[in-house]
């Protein structure tokens, strides 16, 4: 029964791949590709706002440091944001730690959680595309 339900509303493999990839490129884009405008716009606005606020609070984007194991986790989470992360990487913006500033830790949390939420959004877009979810 569940299998039938999945097959009925599933997208083509190409559309599924496109939606999943788009969701990883920019928050909400996967949902927009699938025609879920409301959810897509909400995700785009909330996650972009969170990313910008993280940078304004002087949070920084992490790069892996061999001695600091947690930096690997933060790097993966930061990369989860997609295009904004790679724009920062290309320009070098946001990579300098500013730990002396009081709000820097808040900013780091905002930036890491943004990436984690975007990874969740990409999985959500995949589930919608294969028909597992409405």
């Amino acid at each position: 029964m569940q299998q039938e339900k999945i097959t009925e509303s599933a997208s083509s493999p190409a559309r599924t791949a496109l939606a999943s990839l788009a969701a990883l490129v920019f928050p909400g884009l996967g949902h927009l590709v699938l025609g879920r405008w409301g959810r897509g716009l909400l995700l785009a606005l909330s996650l972009t706002a969170m990313f910008v606020l993280g940078l304004l609070m002087k949070g920084h984007i992490f790069t892996p440091v061999a001695e600091v194991k947690l930096s690997y986790v933060y790097t993966v989470l930061n990369m989860g944001m997609g295009l904004p992360y790679f724009l920062c990487l290309a320009t070098g913006f946001g990579f300098t730690p500013q730990d002396a500033i009081q709000t820097a830790e808040y900013g780091n949390t905002f930036l890491a959680v943004t990436g984690a939420l975007n990874l969740l959004a990409a999985m959500d877009a995949f589930d919608i595309a294969i028909g597992r979810k409405q």
């Binding site: 409301g38 909400l42 909330s46 609070m57 808040y106 969740l120 959004a121």
Partner: protein
């Protein structure tokens, strides 16, 4: 930005994202209520932790 402002802004944005991504809630009203519940939980638990920390000696 104060710690409290950061908490409220963070809770609001995460509440919006959780409401949009929820698998358990199908219609818009349920999603909005779930988002508000997430927001309230973050702020409420934040207050709870702050209360406990207040009584701990520095």
């Amino acid at each position: 930005m104060t710690h409290f402002t950061a908490l409220v802004v963070f809770s609001g944005l995460v509440g919006i994202a959780f409401g949009a991504l929820s698998s358990e809630h199908s219609d818009t009203r349920e999603r909005v209520l779930y988002g508000l519940k997430v927001f309230g939980s973050f702020v409420g638990i934040g207050f709870g932790i702050a209360w406990v920390l207040y009584f701990l000696p520095r």
